[in-house]
Symmetry: C2
Subunit: 559 residues, 2 copies
Amino acid sequence: MADYKTDIEIAQECEKQKITEIAKVAGVDDQYLELYGNYKAKIDYQMLKDKANEPDGKLILVTAITPTPAGEGKTTTSVGLADGMRKIGKKTVVALREPSLGPVFGIKGGAAGGGYAQVVPMEDINLHFTGDFHAIGAANNLLAAMLDNHIQQGNALGIDPKQITWKRAVDMNDRQLRHVIDGIGGKMQGVPREDGFEITVASEIMAILCLSSDITDLKERLSRIVVGYTYSGEPVTAKDLKAQGAMAALLKDALKPNLVQTLEGTPALIHGGPFANIAHGCNSITATKMALKLSDYTITEAGFAADLGAEKFLDIKCRVAGLTPSAVVVVATVRALKYHGGVAKNDLNEENLEALKAGLPNLLQHVGNIKDVYGLPCVVAINAFPTDTKAELDMVEAECKKLGVNVALSEVWAKGGEGGKALAEEVVRLCEEPNHFKQSYELDLSIEEKLEAICKKIYHADGVELTAGAKKQLTKLEELGYGNLPICMAKTQYSFSDNPKLLGAPKGFTVTVRNLKVSAGAGFIVALTGDIMTMPGLPKVPAAEKIDIDENGVITGLF
Amino acid sequence: MADYKTDIEIAQECEKQKITEIAKVAGVDDQYLELYGNYKAKIDYQMLKDKANEPDGKLILVTAITPTPAGEGKTTTSVGLADGMRKIGKKTVVALREPSLGPVFGIKGGAAGGGYAQVVPMEDINLHFTGDFHAIGAANNLLAAMLDNHIQQGNALGIDPKQITWKRAVDMNDRQLRHVIDGIGGKMQGVPREDGFEITVASEIMAILCLSSDITDLKERLSRIVVGYTYSGEPVTAKDLKAQGAMAALLKDALKPNLVQTLEGTPALIHGGPFANIAHGCNSITATKMALKLSDYTITEAGFAADLGAEKFLDIKCRVAGLTPSAVVVVATVRALKYHGGVAKNDLNEENLEALKAGLPNLLQHVGNIKDVYGLPCVVAINAFPTDTKAELDMVEAECKKLGVNVALSEVWAKGGEGGKALAEEVVRLCEEPNHFKQSYELDLSIEEKLEAICKKIYHADGVELTAGAKKQLTKLEELGYGNLPICMAKTQYSFSDNPKLLGAPKGFTVTVRNLKVSAGAGFIVALTGDIMTMPGLPKVPAAEKIDIDENGVITGLF
């Protein structure tokens, strides 16, 4: 393989424009802009109110096939597509999620795109950026501290320490904190109890921030957070602890979307980043709505594959925000499809049409869901690799054609926006196609019916089973009046099913829901399947070991 | 009492100047400025290098008597003095510590001054400000995660889980986290061990950030951090875990001082804020040195009373940075002196010359230390209260005169800079007085001799006693080559002694050192006396309960 430049080298060579210039490109008035250095800015949500009567652009969702170790490049494609749209003369903004420090220091690395399709300043975006995640962590942990302090100071609310559901958060992969016993050491040191930490992106506050329309809505959602239950089984909320005001004050700036740029100077709004396995996996509604006001085409993405990220984007985010996407891009790589077809990671460089054919149903099932369940126009973007052969690309194209879906080769990693023009042309075409958007379930169904709808229609499972514990929870949640909330599935990202080992488009499985819990502030019920981790760990050699900074402040080793 | 405006009301009424204007006042070129919104900016440390050959202004330390519930107002006096200096035509910059979220949500409230002597934007400074503390917490917790991950992944270094000294950190008063058992839940969930959290301001990283001269120095200090010991008793450092590069990358921006303004438009550098009981209690060396380049007079403060904050400022910070203060201001209130003299909190409004006389030795002993031990010119600033009587003020003045020290009434809380002119005039005069600055001990003394010097000369104790455990630690630290580091006393702030109940200027006591630990990165040995808390708790009614934010983002209830 040729000696490629690393992402950070490409990013650091970029002659960035001042963010005030990017704001001009996007049409953001100075009055709404809060600069964070020369290349980052926050945009006041007041802009949305002031532009309420202006028309919205079209919304394009970028999603992907089921992820494999071979990678698919969803963020890269989103960034390159936005640059490609501008190359063909379309006013475009890309709206992405903020990276978490956990993966940056763990295995996955940063999340600012790759190659010649990146957002910059890459180092800042991947490290603290404008501090949003730290603010979310602080609000999360203030609530936890006030909760335990309430018990310590006499427990007037009668909170049962064994029924506390609120965890502390840290933006770090730290398995040591998954399960802890805290409050030990004697009478003055808190209340001994089982506890645990989540990574900040799994915190309900993250989901709330991303679903709130303004400060008032934010504060109301924070008020509704259920932190646990009393001895008599009543839910205890953040409002009961009088925490919502201080929490909202901590989140005041975090609620404002962040403006940066792509390597080619396309305006990028990067804001919020809830986990797509445990939470809803999309950037903030505020950022998406701002992007729609600022552009004719807004490119956004949702976490993991279409069964998780797109499902929640369409069933939760679009419903809450009243959005209708105009088109969906499903990203795949030939390599990943071959992996789904059974090829080992080290053999992916060889042409293998048989394996590709065996792996294609994963892509086709995602595409079918978008078209048939959600009624949305759809294109497949093949994120090109030098090892892809013409025969392989032809096969993908032929199979997709059978579903009436075009394939566009995306060469944005190697060529930037120029490599995204073909995809951009197809997206523009799709946006004029008939749109029959509908959600995969209605809110007035029972919790069990909603679960069944997602599992059968989206995952293509035979059905759904609830454990005894989950059934008990279901009854309780419906009694408490949470029955009409949407469902946020917590499921492995590695399979359509709840078993990470079932690649491709598995059949004949049943999804087991182990537990149900309400995120009353975010406004959804989390259904936990399999062993979903809300606190990742570091690998044997953490990426952090390679990161360095020189005497001039230049960072190396971030990827 | 009249119906006073609250601090936040006064702060919000202030017509702030754009921070670019303040930078002009301070003489900071645009090239060094990184804006954080309109009213905050970071200053690149490159400026210090570029101005290396320019002369330094004079350095004035503001310290105080032993704190009481009656308050003394050190930050308020520092801010008002700086404004007063400018009123009498002196080019002045004030250099302060950043507030911690813990006290903001706990009992104490914010730390941005009070009345008409505040730094603004008060809400931002008291909440996340520019994210420095979160960056410190993240660097602290990355090291912890890498440490436990190393053990989990095979423990090649042979780290003894029972001898880990590195704790995790959170910027919150959260007693529930003081003592925890983490890593529980089975083989894949970490290594079960006793652990605990500190508040971020007590983290060694905070001290390191404040003592580092640049990124290279920062990285070297981070490398030297001792996180624990191997089974064979060898120290394990951050460098052994290959963590220093990523930690330094996380701290890149936090290392840059923050520029804001006082209510009267005086440039204020607010940067760093280590605890003054467990750490060295001063703002960053970088900020102080920048202030000295930007002004003829730099006003700075150190945490708690002169026995803790000033001692460490003079014995640690000035030594590391090669600084010589030109004058010291010791802040007192008549109320606090009466409290030291035995008056109950509710009776402080009444004139009580007898109690005042009984309390005065606390002030006089602090003043004597500054003059005689450190050889520095000194003034007493009486932070005026409406209840102070002329007889009381006369008595303070007369007693101070006996030591050859003038008293200046400071009315900055009520009048801003105008109320600080008298103090400013005296400070200007003192800066021309002879200066015989010397530290209270030399580094080449043994650890025990250094401890004795501080306890006898500064605390006026009969001597110092080490527990058996502390003696063992002492031997070990000297064997490991840490014997020539300065000492950072961890002692109650409420008394000259190690017993918080001994007010005034106690005599006939011995200080007991319970434990010694090395902060090898910060470069000092922490001597723990009494029950020093590195993680505070919330009170029965946390200040957080009163904080709110309205639909326009205006915060109330912060104090």
